[in-house]
Amino acid sequence: MAVGELDRAMQFLAKLPGLGPRSARRAILHLMKRRDSLMLPLAEALAAAARSVRPCTTCGNLDTVDPCGICSDPRRDPQAICVVEDVADVWALERAVAFKGRYHVIGGVLSALDGIGPGDLNVDGLVLRAADPAVNEVILAMNATVDGQTTAHYLADRLASTGVKVSRLAHGVPVGGELDYLDDGTLAQALRARQAL
């Protein structure tokens, strides 16, 4: 049986995504075996992150400075804003190294099931940013789900008054995907969005 402090640490670890009580127990034992090389640095890193990382008041990304590193980077294209649901999507797009503009995290999608309405999303901030004459395109990078695309259409409506160009990511055959394994809806979507070669 674990002593009080370990038990408490295990209870916290077990609340993390991907971990349950059993894996939390393994993780804490692993950390105890590497107290100096892993456990203490991890505790310090977590404490430092909790102290200093905050959402950017401009875009909603997480960073230790406000505005965040992306918003304040003069090399980023100020003409394009890529709208994403969550900070994880910013990180995914940054990994792809395909977008050099700036981001806007709206913090979720419209969902009747989860009771998320327009008022729960950071939409007003987006409309305000899009109205800036320096911005000429807003890319809606929402997930290709019913809720994601419902949100994208809603945002497109809200952005219409700004006169900015609104685009969205393409839907269709993924890289490495085989037609035989795709569902008919995705195939139809890919056909509709075909491009000339």
């Binding site: 290709a144 019913v146 419902t150 259409h153 409506d157 809806g185 979507q189």
Partner: protein
């Protein structure tokens, strides 16, 4: 062990734990029925559990009143087909939300299921234009009928005549002829012509249809339980009204 296989339409999928989801289907023979799907939000399976998709579902549980587990195979991906069309996407979301919020759990409503399949098929036909909205209105009226709140649009409640029907009584849900209803027109609902087989189906008529079915849905299905209609339906009607205003110069109801 209890198990069955049925045709179903995905109404909702709520994340449960890491990758699993509690999926609610409108099945043909087992009604609105929930079940756990392990790995529902994993890469390949995620697209299956989008509202409006038709699936063949196998449900299995130790006891009949348990939540149970679903194994689903995609039949037709209706959701992907309407992602580009904001009005159809709003209509699909509204229909799924209405079915999810109005139908009792585990009570078969095969006609509602078949009607929803017909609606999804109508949405997939581009040459039908906005006619799928008439199918939507008929489907909602069918839901009302299945729940015991059917409208009587066959003959006039006042005169018994079955010609020149123009209104619906908000109190009884019965049709009223133009002549009999004229003195009370401010208190009656407009009867869309497409519901009595007299043509119609233009945007004004479709909007009257949505207003009619929406009124009785709200009164009989939601208000009696102290609830509001699903926001998805409200957004659908608002979008239709806005699109019609933009393209047709305004609705006159």
């Amino acid at each position: 062990m209890v198990d069955w296989t049925d045709e179903g339409i995905v109404l909702a999928a709520k994340a449960h734990g890491e990758g699993s989801a509690i999926v609610v289907l409108l099945t043909r023979d087992h009604g609105r029925h929930a079940g756990l799907v392990r790995g529902a939000f994993s890469g390949r399976a995620r697209g299956v559990y989008q509202p409006g998709n038709r699936v063949t579902a196998e449900w299995r549980a130790r006891l009949a009143d348990h939540l149970g587990n679903y194994t689903c195979e995609l039949g037709h991906g209706h959701a992907a087909a309407v992602l580009d069309d904001p009005l159809k996407l709003a209509g699909l979301s509204a229909a799924c939300a209405i079915a999810e919020a109005s139908l009792p759990e585990r009570e078969p409503h095969p006609q509602v299921h078949d009607g929803l399949v017909a609606l999804l098929d109508a949405m997939a036909e581009p040459e039908l234009g906005d006619a799928w909205i008439a199918v939507y209105v008929r489907w909602e009226i069918g839901v009302l009928a299945d729940l015991g709140y059917g409208l009587d649009l066959e003959s006039c409640a006042a005169t018994g005549a079955n010609d020149d029907l123009a209104y619906v009584s908000p109190r009884t849900g019965r049709a009223v002829s133009l002549a009999a209803g004229e003195p009370y027109r401010d208190r009656l609902l407009s009867l869309p012509r497409f519901l009595i087989g007299r043509g119609g189906g233009d945007q004004d008529d479709l909007f009257r249809g949505l207003a009619l079915s929406g009124f009785f849905m709200e009164r009989h299905v939601f208000a009696t339980h102290g609830r509001q209609p699903p926001p998805a339906r409200t957004r659908f009607v608002e979008r239709f009204a806005r699109d019609a205003t933009v393209s047709g110069g305004g609705l006159s109801i």
